[in-house]
Every structure is written in structure tokens, then in C-alpha cells.
């Protein structure tokens, strides 16, 4: 029977993907859970959870993480939403530059921002020294809560900006005119009309910012000092110099997942209340920014973006400075680049090999999975859909630890291989790529595929000749964004790498931790250049300039 045959071809595909998810996600997660409830003497016990909650030394990491994440989320919204509002409702000069800079800021690895801010505002940072020696002013301490908040906010408000800009583009101009007409203008209109209309998006952006900030590992490690947070604690317990404790690390991981899952559910419930869709026939007409209001908008926009971009600029500057040992010397040269490239080993080829394989796998899997979810919905494909979304709420370091715990012993040993790094990148990136592929596919009418079939094309031929090409625009732009996130990924890689699988981002990180700031700056600049090139290609390919994370 016709239906039967088609069932078989795709059944192999979805059963294989289902099995892969069971093996590489569910089984490692299960391993973590299992390890978290095994006590010191090898029996079933909740002692690690008890230890965590009873000793303030540990439990305060929870409070720390929570407060800094919450503050980051609120501050990112407070900065990002007005910025998006000014950008989309008013004619502000340098639009494309603003767009490019913001995307660039959102894409760089957070720990690079942290390290740059230390160079600027840290104990011996140039700004600190300048204020101290010339003006006699002592700058507030950048280490700890303040520093993490500063770095993460400047890193993450661009996400809010990009999300909310997307939503504002879907607001029909007539809604604003109607509001003006009814006497609701200016600030009142911003709070009574614009914010509610963007609410679903604002909530989605808030969730994303929360997840990123909560799971970020590099920033608090560098700038947090005594302010100890969750992801760092997991890392310390797992790989720390003071002796490792897998079971305790597993228990903390479980607590982290419970928290992120809870936040995720709260956000879902909240956003269900605001579920509506908009589609603008007449997009918002941008007005000229004039007078004192106009001045304020320009000032705000450029200062905010300048602040976020400052670290990048400073690092590029530093990369050309002369160094001797760990100290910077007067004068400029390419010496840092030369030495860094010599001492970085295989990290550039590694970046391209690991990133490249992961990218191909992510794109391929995202196409298959989105097709299965949209066009071949059944119990198993729905299960794949749900499983693929799980990593969205699992902090990257937890994914790393889970994979190590699951695959560092027989029957499957993968630790230290390129394979395990590729798997980790796939697992972490797929939730985003699948979502955007599903959205693309849902916009393709089923009848187009049916037309191909009625013209005698087989199911597989229709898929490859019609469906995939029609999705290609969305796929390619999604792929480029994946590529950028893949090459700047740190929190999972730091747990999984060994000397043979060092990537560019890891190399930067290593130089930073050793205090070789010149070399770090040189490699970070290379990384930024790679990111810029990728983004330029992205903008060329996707005419829409929409960014989905």
C-alpha cells in the first residue's frame, strides 16, 4: 500500500534519530541523575543534596547565581527594550552600523568581554589607573557581583534588542495611529500599547537571557573572584584542583536543571497569557528624532552600543601592543600574533574541523527532524521533538559533565575525542536550529510537495528536490549563526577538551588564565574576525537580516 512504503523510508530515519537521542542525551542525563544519588560509600543516598543545602558555602552559590542572573535579565530588558524602540520608531543615523555592532556584541564569547573589562576597570586596568593617578578617584570594585552584572548585561541586552526589534517590525502602523488618534501618545503609548504588543517577545527574550546568564561559566570564573556561582562550582567539583567529586558535581547539576526547568515553565505559563500573532501590512513608519528628545535618543543609543563594543575594540588594540613576558610594553607590532600562532598548536584547524563537522551535522539533523515533526507527526517524532528541546534548559557545563560521566568508561569511551565535542555542540545547538527550521517549513504549503508527487516524483526526490531547496534560505542563515555560536562556545568545551582538541576559543581562554593577555588578545581578534566574516556572509545570504537564536 502507498502509505506503507512511505512509512518505511522515514521510519528508519526517525528511529535512528530517536536512538541517537536516547544514547547521547537521555542516557547521559540519566547517568548524572544516578551519580547524584550515590553516596560516599557507594549506596543510594541524598547526602550530596543535603551537603549542598546545609552548608552555606555551597548553598550561597545558588543565591548568588540567582541574584546576578535576575538582575542581568531585568537590566538587559531595561536597556534593550528602549533601544529597540528608538531604533525602530525613529530615524537614527547609522542604522546598519548599529545593527552590525549589536549582532557582533551578542555573538562574542562572554569571557572575552570579562577579560577586556578587567583590563579596563580591574585593579591595574588603564581606566582605573587613569582615575586614580590623575584625578584621585577610586573606581568601584569591578570584581564580583558588579563585574558579572556589567559584563553579562552588556553581552545579553543585544539579544533583547534583536528579539524586540523583530516584534516591532510586526506591529502594524495603523495600531500606533489608532492609539495616537485616541489620545494615547509618547511614553503612555510606549507602556500602554507597544510593551503589551511586544510582551510575548519580551518574555521569550527574558527567558533566553536568563538561561544564558544562569549557565555562563567564563565570566564569573574570570571576574567573579570571591562571588561564587553555580556553573563555576559545578566545574570546580568536577575538575577542580582541590580534588574532584563527580557525585557532588552531579547533584549540583541536577539542582541547576530543576531551577532552569522551573523558570522555563513559569515563562511558558506567563507567555500563554499573551499568546497572539501579529502581521503588519503597513510596517511602522520611522519618524525623525528631533530636539532634546532626539538628542537623548542618539546619546542613549550610541553610548549603550559603544559600551558593549568597547571590549572588542580594546582587545583589537591590545593585540597589536608589544609585550614582554606577561607585561605590555610601549610600541606596536604583530609580535603577539606571531607568538600566539606559534604556541596555539592545532587550535585553528581544530576549530574548523570540530566546528565544521558539528555544523554539517546540526544542519542535516535539523532538516530531517523539522521535516519529521511537521510532516510526519507521530508518537516517536513528537518524542524526538521534545527531547531535542531539552538542552535548551540544560546549562552547557552540565551537558559536558553528563557526556563525560556517560562515555568515560566501557562500553563506549568517547572522552578526549573530537567526536564527543561534536556531539556536545550538536546537542546544544539543535534546539535553536530545529525551531527555526520548523518555522520555515510551516510556511511552505503542503500542496507544493503534493504537486511534485502528482508529477511523478518519489517521496525522497520530493524531499531533496523541492522541500530542502525551499527551506534553503532559512537553513543557510541558521547555519551561519550556528557556526558563530559553535566557534565561540566555551562552557561545554572546557569540560570535554584535551590537548589534542583545543579550539580557538579554548586557546584564548587558556592564554587568559595564564596571564598571557597579549596572545589572548591576538587570538581573540582572530576569533572576532572569523565572526565578522561569518556575519557578513550571513547578511549577504539572508536578505531579511532577521536573526534567530
Amino acid at each position: 500500500m502507498a502509505r506503507k512504503k512511505l512509512f518505511d523510508a522515514w521510519a528508519i530515519v526517525y528511529l535512528a534519530i530517536f536512538a541517537a537521542y536516547l544514547l547521547f542525551l537521555i542516557y547521559p542525563m540519566y547517568t548524572i541523575l544516578q551519580n547524584s544519588v550515590i553516596g560516599e560509600n557507594g549506596t543510594l543516598s541524598l547526602e550530596w543534596f543535603a551537603k549542598f543545602f546545609s552548608q552555606k558555602y555551597y548553598s550561597q552559590t545558588l543565591i548568588h547565581s540567582f541574584s546576578v542572573t535576575l538582575c542581568t535579565t531585568v537590566l538587559s530588558l531595561v536597556i534593550g527594550v528602549p533601544l529597540a524602540y528608538f531604533y525602530n520608531l525613529y530615524e537614527i543615523k547609522g542604522r546598519s552600523l548599529i545593527q552590525v555592532l549589536i549582532i557582533l556584541c551578542s555573538m562574542s564569547a562572554p569571557f572575552i568581554g570579562a577579560y577586556a573589562w578587567i583590563q579596563l576597570l580591574g585593579r591595574s586596568g588603564i581606566v582605573t589607573k587613569f582615575f586614580q593617578s590623575r584625578l584621585g578617584i577610586t573606581i568601584p570594585n569591578i570584581y564580583g557581583f558588579n563585574g558579572i552584572l556589567l559584563v553579562l548585561t552588556l553581552q545579553l541586552y543585544p539579544l533583547v534588542f534583536l528579539y524586540v526589534s523583530g516584534a516591532l517590525k510586526n506591529i502594524d502602523n495603523s495600531l500606533l495611529e489608532a492609539s495616537d488618534n485616541l489620545g494615547c501618545t509618547g511614553i503612555r503609548r510606549f507602556f500602554k500599547v507597544i510593551i503589551p504588543l511586544c510582551m510575548p517577545t519580551i518574555l521569550a527574550a527574558a527567558l533566553l537571557v536568563f538561561m544564558r546568564a544562569f549557565a555562563d561559566f567564563g565570566t564569573p570564573l574570570l571576574i567573579g573572584e570571591g562571588y561564587r556561582v553555580f556553573p563555576v562550582e559545578i566545574y570546580t567539583q568536577f575538575l577542580g584542583e582541590t580534588g574532584t567529586n563527580y557525585n557532588f558535581a552531579a547533584a549540583i547539576s541536577v539542582i541547576a536543571i530543576v531551577i532552569t526547568a522551573f523558570i522555563f515553565l513559569v515563562q511558558k505559563i506567563l507567555s500563554n497569557r499573551f499568546a497572539f500573532t501579529m502581521n503588519a501590512l503597513n510596517p511602522i513608519e520611522r519618524k525623525k528624532a528631533k530636539g532634546i528628545k532626539g538628542f537623548f535618543m542618539y546619546f542613549y543609543t550610541y553610548v549603550i552600543i559603544g559600551l558593549a563594543f568597547l571590549p572588542q575594540v580594546y582587545i583589537v588594540y591590545q593585540s597589536f601592543q608589544n609585550t614582554s613576558g606577561k607585561l605590555f610594553r610601549p610600541g606596536y607590532s604583530f609580535d603577539s600574533y606571531k607568538t600566539a600562532l606559534k604556541r596555539m598548536g592545532d587550535s585553528i584547524p581544530n576549530t574548523f574541523i570540530i566546528g565544521g563537522i558539528a555544523l554539517v551535522a546540526v544542519v542535516f539533523l535539523a532538516i530531517l527532524i523539522s521535516y519529521l515533526v511537521v510532516r510526519r507527526s507521530n508518537v516517536i517524532t513528537q518524542a524526538i521533538d521534545t527531547m531535542s528541546m531539552l538542552p535548551y534548559i540544560i546549562p552547557g557545563s552540565v551537558v559536558g559533565i553528563a557526556l563525560v560521566m556517560a562515555f568515560n568508561k566501557k562500553p563506549i569511551i568517547l572522552t578526549g575525542t573530537i567526536g564527543i565535542m561534536v556531539i556536545a555542540l550538536c546537542i546544544r545547538r539543535l534546539p535553536y536550529t530545529i525551531r527555526s527550521s520548523v518555522a520555515t517549513l510551516q510556511q511552505i504549503p503542503l500542496t507544493t510537495e503534493e504537486a511534485a508527487i502528482s508529477l511523478g516524483a518519489s517521496k525522497m526526490k520530493t524531499f531533496f528536490k523541492i522541500t530542502v531547496p525551499m527551506m534553503s534560505n532559512g537553513i543557510i542563515s541558521g547555519a551561519i549563526l550556528s557556526w558563530v555560536t559553535i566557534i565561540t562556545e566555551l562552557s561545554t568545551a572546557i569540560i570535554l577538551y584535551n590537548s589534542k582538541t583545543v579550539t580557538l576559543t579554548l586557546a584564548v581562554y587558556t592564554f587568559v588564565t595564564r596571564g598571557n593577555y597579549g596572545y589572548a588578545a591576538a587570538l581573540a581578534t582572530v576569533l572576532t574576525a572569523l565572526t565578522v566574516i561569518s556575519l557578513l556572509i550571513f547578511m549577504k545570504v539572508s536578505k531579511s537580516k532577521e536573526i534567530t537564536f
Binding site: 502507498a2 500542496t447 507544493t448 503534493e450 504537486a451 502528482s454 508529477l455 511523478g456 516524483a457
Partner: protein, 374 residues
């Protein structure tokens, strides 16, 4: 090669709800056959069962004598035109048209010549290297039709192909579709909810309601002798009046309200008995008389002059509103509030049983009454 299509007791369910239960019909070779009915009545569902995109829960579908229930949609040799055209956006016009031929592994030359032939037939050869997003709706429609016909299908299926076009283009395209279909001589099943379009284009029409075929016949059959009350009001416009019928020999007399009577000699013998009936009188089946005081008394509420015809909206003494169409006269249009008397063209009107399920007048041609056989 064209085929005839036989459908016997087709059944389609979605979950618990049965959309089509036991539908039968026969579509003749080379015929332009239309499925007509209100939105949601199951036309698309039936069409997609023929195409093979909907699973067939029950019944038998035949192309000539071959049962096609189990044949893969790609192997049914069907040309299909979709409501949204379903043009492949990433292929040029020419490659869209050639797509089906390439699946059939013809030689390069044959693909080239056949594609060119149909590009010319549909008058789109000057756009052949364009991408679809640079075509107008009408041009996309032509590409869709060329693409469906170039594979020399046994059957052409079209699902509301004109509904996305503006009114003027719609009339033009339906002419084109009709001509091409005649020229190619292909068995065609066409779906629409627009009765005027169906009348203009079809050899025969099946009127559907709630998944059940009400009447199969030529446009003339449907309009002049509709099988039941639903068909009479769905096809064209009509006025529905209640009446008591009395029988005297072969003559049936309808007693309309207000004491007006009409005598009919063309009632089917089996229905000749005293009964309540429903009378369907189309607007043009009334005769207005201003002078004589015989007939149904009515007062003119308003009128619309449309050149060839003038429409009058009147109400009867009972309060019922009635629409009348008269060929425009050179005299004055009858003014509002004016009292007129109406007679009917007795040989044209239709009379239905009290429940509206059967037309009791002679001359009803309904192919669905005999299991769909024409």
C-alpha cells in the same frame, strides 16, 4: 489517453467524524466534471482521495477498469492544479513545467519540445526563464496548468484554481481553462464553491452538501429542474413559497397564499395527491402586470436597473419578500409603493415535497439517483 472515473461508496473519516459516507459517481471520459457545494462540504476531501493524497477509508475508485485505491499518488498519472498554484518557487517557469517530464526519464529532446509546446499553449513562453515570484497571479495559474498538462495525464484535477484571482481575470481564465480542456480532451474534475463559475465551465456538475451528492446533471438540468430544494436555492436565485396542492385528474392545482392558484399538468404521477408543497419560482419566472388585478398582489419596495434587466424587490400581502427580474422596458420603471399583480410561468416553476427532498415535477435528470451512473 483519457479515462473514465468510477467511484463506488467512497467513505472518508477524520477521527470520529465522517466527512463522506458512501458516495458514488461516474465521470465520463473527456468530460469536464465539477464538484460544486458550499465551503466545508467535502469537495477537496473527495478530490484528494482521487489524487491519492487522502487515505481512502472505504469504497472503490476506478480509472477505467483499474482499481486505484492502492496506487501511489506519484503513479496515478494525474495532473493537479492547486488553489495556491503550488508553483516551485526555486525553479524557473520552464523548469517548473519540465519537472514532471524529468521524473518520467524522457530524452532531453523530448522534454525540451514538450515543455516548449505547453509553454506556448498556455502563452507563457516569453516568461520561461523567469522565477515564479516575478509572475502575476494569472501567469502563475498558467504555469500551474501547463505543468499539470505537459505530463499528458489521464485525469486533470483542479481545486478552486481561480479563487485567488480578481473578478475580471477569473472570467478570462475560466474561458482559457475550458478551451484548453476541450483541445486536450482530458477528463477533468474541477472543484468550486462558485455556482456561476461551475455553470460557465462544466459539462456536468455534482452539487454536494455535507458530503452527500444532491444532484448530478448538466448546468441546464440543475437550473431548470433541480432535484431538491437545496439545489434549487444553491444554483441561481429563487423565491420559495409554501402552497397547498389539490389534484384533479392529471392536473395539480397549487393554492398559494392570498388565494392565488397555479395549475400544473407536468407533475410526476406518483406525487399526484393532495399535499402540502414548497414552490420555487425564479425571479424571471414571474410576470408583472400593472393593469389587471389578477394574480398575487404585491407592493414594490425598490428596484435596480441593470441595463438588460430590471430587478424589482416587492413584498406580498403575507409580508413575504420576493425578487423579480424583468427584461427592461422602454417605459417608466415601476415606482416604489406601487401595487402590482404577479403571475407565474407555470411550465418553468418547480415544486418540491413538503420536506424539500424531492422535485415532483417531471423532467428531473439526476445521474446521482442511479448510483452515479450517467
Amino acid at each position: 489517453m483519457s479515462v473514465n472515473i468510477k467511484i463506488k461508496n467512497a467513505v472518508k473519516r477524520y477521527g470520529k467524524s465522517t466527512i463522506i459516507s458512501g458516495l458514488s459517481l461516474v465521470i465520463k471520459e473527456g468530460e469536464f466534471f465539477t464538484l460544486l457545494g458550499p465551503s466545508g462540504c467535502g469537495k477537496t476531501t473527495l478530490l484528494r482521495m482521487i489524487a491519492g493524497f487522502n487515505f481512502i477509508e472505504g469504497g472503490d475508485f476506478f480509472f477505467n477498469d483499474e482499481r486505484i485505491n492502492m496506487i501511489d499518488p506519484a503513479k496515478r498519472n494525474i495532473g493537479m492544479v492547486f488553489q495556491n498554484y503550488a508553483i516551485f518557487p526555486h525553479l524557473s517557469v520552464k523548469n517548473n513545467v519540465a519537472f514532471g517530464l524529468k521524473n518520467r526519464k524522457y530524452s532531453k529532446d523530448k522534454i525540451e519540445t514538450e515543455t516548449q509546446k505547453f509553454l506556448e499553449l498556455m502563452k507563457i513562453d516569453q516568461y520561461k526563464d523567469r522565477m515564479p515570484n516575478r509572475l502575476s497571479g494569472g501567469q502563475q495559474q498558467r504555469v500551474a496548468l501547463a505543468r499539470a498538462l505537459v505530463i499528458q495525464p489521464d485525469v486533470l484535477l483542479m481545486d478552486e484554481p481561480l479563487s485567488n484571482l480578481d473578478a475580471k481575470l477569473r472570467v478570462e481564465m475560466r474561458q482559457t481553462i475550458r478551451e484548453i480542456q476541450r483541445r486536450v480532451g482530458i477528463t477533468t474534475v474541477y472543484v468550486t464553491h462558485d455556482q456561476e463559475e461551475a455553470m460557465a465551465i462544466s459539462d456536468r456538475i455534482a452539487v454536494m452538501k455535507d458530503g452527500v451528492i444532491q444532484h448530478i446533471g448538466t448546468p441546464k438540468d440543475l437550473y431548470q429542474r433541480p432535484a431538491n430544494l437545496f439545489v434549487s436555492s444553491f444554483i441561481g436565485r429563487t423565491n420559495i413559497l409554501e402552497a397547498d396542492a389539490t389534484v384533479n385528474g392529471s392536473l395539480m392545482t397549487l393554492h398559494l397564499k392570498d388565494g392565488f392558484t397555479v395549475s400544473l399538468s407536468n407533475v410526476q404521477p406518483e406525487f399526484r395527491q393532495d399535499r402540502k408543497v414548497i414552490v420555487s419560482i425564479r425571479p424571471e419566472e414571474f410576470i408583472i402586470s400593472e393593469n389587471s388585478d389578477e394574480g398575487l398582489r404585491a407592493v414594490v419596495d425598490s428596484s435596480v436597473f441593470l441595463g438588460l434587466n430590471t430587478h424589482y424587490y416587492v413584498h406580498l400581502d403575507s409580508g413575504q419578500e420576493v425578487e423579480i427580474i424583468q427584461e427592461s422596458k422602454i417605459d417608466e420603471i415601476i415606482p416604489e409603493k406601487h401595487t402590482v399583480y404577479l403571475k407565474v410561468k407555470a411550465e418553468k416553476i418547480n415544486v418540491f415535497t413538503e420536506d424539500g427532498s424531492r422535485n415532483i415535477v417531471k423532467g428531473v435528470n439526476n445521474d446521482s439517483a442511479n448510483g452515479g451512473e450517467a
